[in-house]
């Protein structure tokens, strides 16, 4: 944080010099240009990545961030997917003594209350890739 930001914050203003806005916008658009992925394709890839990850672990959808970043003309796909807990579904862990779950369609036994909305979304995603996938960016738990 710079002194200017600090003063602005004290005064309740939010003024950012336009050069930094330009830099941020450029970096974002160039990451897309260089990877030759349009936003639509990138979004599809994001959803599919989340789908795969969600088969194995339960992730915090609101904290998820999948983006392209570029440094020195090398573009990297960065995914930050906070894990809430293991799904214990697929692959099944015999150590727990649970019956073998043949597919990921078996609901987890230990759903804490209050997460139903998110979890049902997750299951939906995990079970069928053809079904319309809820917008992961703004999960809307009932």
């Amino acid at each position: 944080m710079s002194l200017l930001d600090f003063i602005n914050r004290l005064l309740g203003r939010q003024a950012q010099p336009s050069a930094s806005t330009a830099r941020e916008r450029l970096q974002l658009v160039l990451a897309h240009d260089r990877s030759d992925l349009n936003p639509e394709l990138l979004d599809q890839m994001r959803r599919e990545i989340l789908e795969v990850v969600q088969r194995y672990v339960e992730i915090d959808l609101e904290g998820c961030d999948v983006s392209l970043e570029t440094e020195d003309r090398v573009t990297a796909l960065l995914a930050n997917l906070p894990i809430k807990g293991a799904r214990r579904l697929d692959p099944p862990s015999p150590a727990d003594g649970e019956p073998m779950a043949p597919t990921s369609s078996a609901p987890p036994q230990d759903d804490p209350p209050g997460r139903e909305g998110t979890l049902s979304q997750l299951r939906e995603i995990a079970n069928s890739s053809s079904a319309p996938i809820p917008a992961w960016v703004h999960p809307d738990p009932e």
Binding site: M1, S2, L3, L4, F6, I7, P17, S18, A19, S20, A22, R23, R25, L26, Q27, V29, L30, D33, R34, D72, R73
Partner: protein, 275 residues
């Protein structure tokens, strides 16, 4: 076909992607500056649809033939080359004219550049804007490149596309000239900083040219700034680019820090990171 002289010519593409950022102005000024520094220099206007290099060099009334006639065998290269009166080390060759029946191919460009290289120390190719056939033709004949851009998002983005294509073509080295820099705006952080542009494009900086009204005056007259001394800031910058190309080490000074006014100083202090 590729005739090699004792000291092979350097064949440099001057390109930008976006139009209007200063490709042709740089080519004209660099051509004159290199010639004045004693290098035999040929400038090739590869933009035959909208050619303008002749106009900036003040040679528009002396063009009779183009590269097309040379390739067709209608005339010799010496007849098509337009020698600059004040700087006889510099000659201009237009690739073609807008009424050309057949467009040149990348092979044609290579042939004509090879002919120019035989008799030059530097061949500067003024690339058309865009990344279509005109660019590909011009890039096919180039060994190295200068990408020119301005500190604006659209120009930097287009430059990035061009750099990607040059990398694919194996053009090496690619260097950057940052044009139309406004030191005061940069100091006030209302314009992308020099380091922002060089970091984003990941290219070595060959030159910094400040916004200079004299550039317009010089194009009005058809006399590049480097022709008449180094009075203006832009003329100095172009000459420095020429000297760096010849291997001289000329320090680059960030103009936003060099001419920092009181307001900028205060702005810099309050922008200092405190935590």
């Amino acid at each position: 076909m590729d005739a090699v002289t004792s000291a092979p010519a350097r064949i440099i593409l001057i390109c930008s992607g976006k139009g209007g950022v200063g490709k042709t102005t740089l080519t004209a000024n660099l051509g004159i500056a290199l010639a004045r520094l004693g290098s035999r220099t040929a400038v090739l206007d590869a933009d035959f649809g909208l050619r303008n290099l002749d106009l900036l060099l003040g040679l528009e009334n002396r063009i009779v033939y183009t590269a097309q006639e040379v390739l067709a065998g209608t005339c010799r290269l010496e007849q098509a080359l337009v020698k600059h009166k004040q700087e006889p080390n510099l000659s201009l060759l237009p690739a073609g004219n807008p009424r050309m029946l057949e467009w040149l191919t990348p092979e044609d460009m290579k042939r004509i550049v090879a002919l120019l290289a035989e008799r030059s120390d530097f061949v500067l190719i003024d690339c058309p804007a865009g990344i279509e056939d005109g660019f590909k033709n011009a890039a096919a004949a180039a060994q190295e490149a200068i990408v020119i851009t301005t500190p604006e998002v659209s120009a930097v983005r287009d430059a990035d596309r061009v750099i990607g294509l040059l990398n694919i073509q194996g053009v090496q080295p690619v260097q950057l000239v940052l044009n139309r820099v406004r030191p005061r705006m940069m100091a006030n952080q209302e314009m992308l900083a020099v380091s922002d542009v060089t970091d984003i494009l990941a290219l070595p900086l060959l030159g910094l040219v400040v916004e200079d009204e004299q550039v317009i005056v010089s194009t009005n007259r058809g006399e590049p700034l480097t022709l008449n001394g180094t009075g203006s800031p832009a003329a100095k910058a172009y000459l420095n680019v020429a000297r760096r190309l010849q291997g001289e080490s000329v320090p680059l000074i960030d103009p936003s820090k060099e001419r920092e006014g009181l307001r900028a100083k205060i702005k810099r202090i309050i922008s200092t990171k405190i935590f």
